[in-house]
Subunit: 457 residues, 2 copies
């Protein structure tokens, strides 16, 4: 195997320019899933992905869904070897605003060692690293030392509506020991990372109704409950002065950070003044007793995302509003249970509901948090592989957001995910002038190739 | 004088039908000030008002303003007698929705002793009672026993934008001992009332700004102040569990109700279940220790009239919003000072402003509360006059709203106002099928005529 990896590395060096040409070919296709005008381009991107899989020695099927097709690729079977499921997506965000692009969004252009195009990092460039690593293994050794299954979808930017059904329908074909997704970022330039934890989420909408219609605040004000005031009081009751959520039981199941985790977070380079300055706030704010990084990655939240009731036009209006609504999401951490958190939140509000208003409480689809077991053998393999490609081991980080496919892979296929990002979170994902460092593109291919070797050990 | 009043009463009986015909003539003019299509009709209504004033023996001028003209009338001068300023308005609300009228809005129609038309009670019918009472006095005695000055404007339904300037420009001509306005309501059918108090108002708008744009709540949630949550907490801090406003100094200048006032309020017929049922709430709610009537008429409030921030569309959205805004009005009672209340409110919010948000505080025009001194000689005169016309003395009531012209009359002309409503608050003011009881129209004329006699004593 050591010999194989040496051969693979020689192929990687030799074919580096071809990988970039193949990336350009994929980036030239404006596969914007959100806009029906780009429908045929999305199908072309699926076809190009399948072609590049086949060129890498894989079988490739383009499987129809109710939306855009999913490309299912498979490296030559290695009986008895472990199986890795690679997830990625060939669709991209709309390129607007077009006039803010220095070079056209679908004419990939290299400047200062970076390739600029929509999809460069999200996710064509990152996804392609795994196809190209299989390609290198095929050229060097006939096939990778393990089984690699590719699931490359075309609806990630519009909600992955048909992915879960696909995973259910093809559960048998998709059995795997671990999944790999490269759709996140490194911690910073030259700081490779493994994202081993993501927060979960629950979402709900609370509406208080007082009088059956808006009423004159002169005639009625002071004598009836005002849904705006009452909702504000309820929302205000969700946190204490220390920034802790006061909902009974909210923290019961929260898995504490270990001392090692806190130390690892603290060891990461982080400048709070820069962080605040970048988003235009004077100071951070959150749960007492935790650092900004801990608050973002490993502590649960209760955020109002929208608040509305009564009159929002110009000038004053003298009404007691009939209704007021809050949209609320809680970010969850391991081992909080989405249903239990929603129940507790509802009970908290109900228990404090004043006379003269009624409450409706509507919930949306939620997802639990995800953390990869640090002792999972794939973690060590990934760390070693990244060290080999980047010349340094990855830092272990978490992210505060949720990546729904990770929850789906866990719940439907019972497979844990390695989140190996090769991009930077400053690569203008979803913005004009999206880009991807070609050095990291090549290092990503290298790390991926090394990962197949490590997982085969 | 007793003899004169007997003569007046005989004229009132004799000319009752003519008064109704004159009312119809005014109601037929669609003087909708809000709609430029009705511009000429507003001028016609001013002309018709002036004609009826002249027919009543008054001089009448139609005085231009930057908007619709103001009709200035004046009864024959009685040197040494006191002067009453009658305020009213000849403009009306738009008649929409037209198809909900049983008979056309500008074809006055009598059914069951009530005249139906836009403006019947608000304010043509009520305003006309005072012109007709002067008319009766002129026929019976050559002129009223006092000086009556009429200020009848045409922009009351669109904000009276030019009234204050008019009052300032004609301050000398408008000197009066007391003002009379019939643009309110009786307490109930056959329960005449003098409205001796109105609440004042202050209005402001508070905006909290956190990050310079909406941010991803997964990436930032929990680590920065959320303006929606923070604003809710601030708004929630404005009241305590007993429904009292917690702003320091808020109640310092509040004039307490006297035992007699509380008793008078309690003696009024009022059914709380009906009150709640009519507006669709299960229970009233307000400051502990006060009745619903006291809360509405004589206690200050702090109501959020509008609350908005973040996402208000369908479904969830995972953001930490950049901004959140509350529109707030406080209803004031004597002797609260608008400026002091706004200052105290602002200070309350500033003192509690958390790290990571900034606050902007914008104020709108406000007005102090108004109460007529119960010992003002005009109060006794009005009570006696109403007793004579209605066969029972009026109840003394307050209203929770504000009537800006009352504040203007006080601040610009230093004159107190008798609010003598002849209508019912169920007369569909501002709604289809507006109406006015003809019995109360005639009793209003009678009371007005008697008032001139009483004020002359």
């Amino acid at each position: 195997m050591a010999d194989s990896m040496a051969s693979v590395e020689s192929i990687l060096a030799q074919d580096a320019d071809r990988y970039v040409e193949d990336l350009k070919a994929l980036l030239r296709i404006p596969s914007v899933s959100a806009d029906t005008a780009f429908h045929d381009h999305c199908l072309s991107a699926a076809a190009e992905t399948a072609e590049q899989l086949e060129a890498a020695g894989c079988s490739a099927e383009i499987i129809s869904t109710a939306g855009f097709p999913i490309v299912l690729g498979r490296s030559p079977e290695v009986p008895g070897a472990s199986t890795v499921l690679v997830y990625g997506h060939y669709d991209v965000q709309p390129p607007d605003p077009l006039d803010e692009w220095e070079t056209p969004a679908f004419e990939p252009t290299i400047r200062d060692g970076r390739i600029y195009a929509r999809g460069a990092t999200d996710d064509k460039g990152q996804m392609l690293t795994h196809i190209k690593s299989v390609d290198a293994w095929t050229k060097a050794a006939g096939h990778p030392p393990i089984n690699v299954v590719f699931v490359i979808e075309g609806e990630e930017e519009v909600g992955s509506d048909n992915l879960d059904q696909f995973l259910k329908d093809h559960r048998e074909k998709l059995k795997a020991d671990v999944a790999v997704i490269s759709d996140t970022s490194m911690y910073g330039p030259d700081i490779p990372a493994i994202t081993y934890g993501l927060r979960g989420i629950v979402a709900c909408e609370v509406t208080l109704t007082g009088p059956s219609q808006d009423l004159h605040s002169g005639i009625f004000g002071g004598a009836i409950a005002n849904p705006c005031n009452e909702l504000a009081t309820l929302i205000g009751s969700l946190h204490d002065a220390d920034g802790r959520v006061t909902v009974e039981g909210f923290y019961d199941d929260v898995r504490s950070l270990t001392d090692q985790e806190r130390q690892a977070f603290a060891d990461l380079p982080f400048d709070e003044a820069t962080f605040c300055n970048n988003i235009g706030v004077k100071a951070p704010r959150g749960e007492a007793g935790f650092t900004t990084t801990e608050r973002r990655w490993a502590r649960p939240t209760c955020d109002v995302n929208g608040l509305f009731g009564g009159y929002s036009g110009e000038g004053p209006k003298t009404i007691v509003p009939s209704k007021a609504t809050a949209k609320i999401t809680c970010r969850l951490v391991p081992d909080q249970k989405p249903e239990a958190i929603l129940d507790a939140l509802k009970r908290h509000l109900e228990d404090r509901l004043p006379d003269g208003v009624t409450m409706s409480f509507m919930t949306y689809h939620g997802a639990p948090a995800f953390v990869m077991d640090p002792d999972h053998p794939a973690m060590a393999a990934a760390s070693t592989a990244i060290d080999r490609a980047f010349g340094k081991p990855p830092v272990l980080i978490r992210e505060g957001g949720s990546i729904p496919v990770v929850a789906s892979l866990k719940s439907i296929l019972d497979v844990d995910t390695l989140l190996l990002g090769w991009g930077q979170n400053t690569d203008n994902l979803h913005s004009p002038n999206e880009r991807f460092s070609l050095k990291d593109f090549q290092r990503g291919i290298h790390a991926s190739a090394a990962l197949w070797a490590e997982l085969a050990k």
